[in-house]
Symmetry: C2
């Protein structure tokens, strides 16, 4: 029953997309606000909201505003139990930050055509690169993306690159992913946001599958060729240590 | 299109139910494990898993096990931002625990036919009542349920009571909800679990709608009539303070 299948996928994805409209700037929303934000017909939004309320994922507050539901609290615990790194791994991220004179360290996993930050150690510099845990970044840009795509096939990379607002990005991304595969690390400068640079290396699980990319991020002015050359050895040491700990997505 | 509607609701609910199979005892599961746990056909489980992976709610680890997805990390932040009480409210829960000589305080909101614990202050007694934040409890039992149902109509209460494993529970629950409405608080003894007692009072928002129930829970041996009479004044004071703070489900 392909119709039922498609409907199921679409419903779940729509529900996820609707919840994604609640963020730091929108703690609560009205049905009207959701209609405006989604462009969906009001009847569709009302139906979706009812479904999400029934599932405990949205909650109607007394003032008529909708807020993320208390049912998410259980999922919060689940997610944190799965993704919280053991202390030894967190210490490694901290040491890498220190070895780079205070740049921020992020750990990303691939999730469809995005990379999600699952852990980080925030740097000490005043001008610092900040991605929150749980935040999605596009997979078409950045050193961590080159690394996460370094074992992907060409069609996959080209499909990911289609989201980039640039002509011919598929070829470029494929080339950078190939280089990341050859070198075992990658650097990027201003691919998505001018002035932001990164350098990243792959983390593997015990079966040898790539599980994550560990990355240093900061302003391009501090990520000179000399600095990157200096960052790479401790970055690779951190990636190897995380590989040995085999702790991405919980321990088996 | 009622068919599409029903399909959407069912898909989202099924997805939520499948995620609920991941808990403290099951950090990871195989597709086979999910088939066994749900009793659904393997093809259905595979389709559902693919949908959840696409939505970032499940993640395939290298060892072939499924774990809660990194996409949940974002929702975790959302849920905690919405439901985390301000420090002043948390202090009130702590004070109530002290005033009851160390019983545990829970705050519950209604979610369909359940009540969800959204905050708590764990008591200091060795034998203590523990419900985790995010945990769902049945709405057919307990003092907090009487309170949360004290403004519900009879049909609603009877429908909730249908989940109870007892004959004639609808009448009993309706009567207890009516008494909670009259008294402004309720006590319960062993309604669901022998030896567990509770006493609860309603919290309102600024529009006067009931938003939550604050409850003390502990062993029946400590919840004598004398003790309950002693617990009620500080409980009602806490409920009034939380009403004034108007902080359930985030601030407007």
């Amino acid at each position: 029953m392909p119709d039922v299948d498609a409907g199921g996928v679409r419903s779940v994805q729509r529900a996820v997309d609707l919840l994604a409209l609640f963020d730091a700037d929108h703690h609560s929303r009205s049905v009207r606000g959701l209609v405006d934000a989604t462009g969906l017909p009001k009847t569709t939004v009302v139906r979706l909201v009812q479904t999400l309320e029934q599932a405990g994922l949205l909650w109607s507050r007394g003032d008529g505003q909708l807020v993320p539901g208390a049912g998410l609290l259980r999922w919060a615990e689940l997610a944190q139990r799965t993704w919280r790194l053991p202390d030894e791994a967190l210490r490694r991220l901290e040491e890498l930050s220190e070895a780079s004179r205070g740049e921020t360290v992020h750990l990303y996993v691939r999730q469809r055509n995005a990379r999600v930050c699952v852990a980080r150690h925030e740097g000490t510099r005043n001008l610092r690169h900040v991605v929150r845990v749980g935040e999605e970044m596009p997979l078409w840009s950045g050193a961590a993306s080159h690394v996460l795509l370094s074992r992907a096939d060409r069609a996959d990379v080209v499909a990911v690159a289609a989201a980039a607002p640039h002509e011919g990005w598929g070829e470029l991304l494929w080339e950078r992913a190939r280089r990341a595969a050859d070198d075992g690390w990658s650097a990027s400068h201003g691919e998505r946001e001018p002035g932001v640079s990164g350098v990243a290396a792959p983390v593997f699980d015990r079966s040898g599958r790539m599980s994550a990319a560990v990355a240093l991020g900061g302003p391009t002015t501090r990520f000179t060729d000399e600095a990157v050359a200096e960052f790479v050895p401790p970055l690779l040491a951190t990636a190897r240590a995380l590989t040995t700990l085999d702790c991405i997505g919980g321990t088996a």
